[in-house]
Symmetry: C2
Subunit: 142 residues, 2 copies
């Protein structure tokens, strides 16, 4: 099943994620982006155009930067208005979730596999104590 | 206690986060950034310079893009080599964790409060079903 991806953020975070996707996996061109509030331009039409572009036999994922923030609210509002159940919205996006969904081998995304994927790539405070106590044994860490 | 912040990423994700921090909270200047692999330049000296800049009566936080990725590995390696316990390393960074730690009212960051802050801003798949079933009642959602 064809999947379409949009990243929407305050400022250039969306472009930044796209740049990282390109460097890590040559996948920058596989996402559309909205860098909101850099100008006064209303970005709502870009959201609605993306939603409209997702056909009934396709799936869409919209990654937003901050739960409760303006961009996220606008995206949620537009998805609810469109009444499409084949579009997922993710908030508090990080690089691993975008990368994993872009590279997903699953033909169809489900809430269950997205949730599992999120769990595997959550934000983490690292514990910098090596199991062996040796600072030169990084293989033990990763 | 003075806190210093560094965001390090493959590509321009670090700059993107900085741009979002500036737009949302006028905090772009409060973070240093490393956008790695845009050129062939070795970025290790920038990491070591940041680590060296964190005095013993200060705290440092390094936000990295992807657990196990090159940038994250290099940061971990340098922090372990420096043997400083006043520097925290976070992987799979998203905007909420950077924003929350930059705006934290706590004088001193601890593993406990960072972990709690991470938990509050984790990556989330939104459930776009309004409690009331009405799509025009967004107040019920946020």
């Amino acid at each position: 099943m064809k999947k379409k991806f949009l990243i929407a953020s305050h400022g250039k975070l969306a472009a930044g994620l796209q740049s990282s996707l390109e460097i890590l996996a040559n996948k920058g061109k596989d996402v559309e982006i909205i860098n909101a509030y850099l100008t006064e331009e209303d970005y709502t039409p870009k959201i609605t155009a993306f939603i409209a572009s997702v056909q009934s036999d396709e799936q869409g994922v919209i990654f937003t930067d901050l739960f409760g923030g303006s961009v996220n609210q606008k995206v949620v509002n537009q998805v609810l208005t469109a009444k499409k159940d084949n579009i997922f919205v993710i908030s508090n996006t990080n690089l691993p979730i975008v990368l994993s969904l872009l590279l997903s081998p699953d033909d169809t995304l489900t809430r269950e596999n997205i949730t599992a994927t999120i769990r595997d790539g959550q934000v983490t405070l690292l514990s910098l104590t090596l199991p062996t106590g040796k600072t030169d044994d990084l293989d033990a860490f990763f």
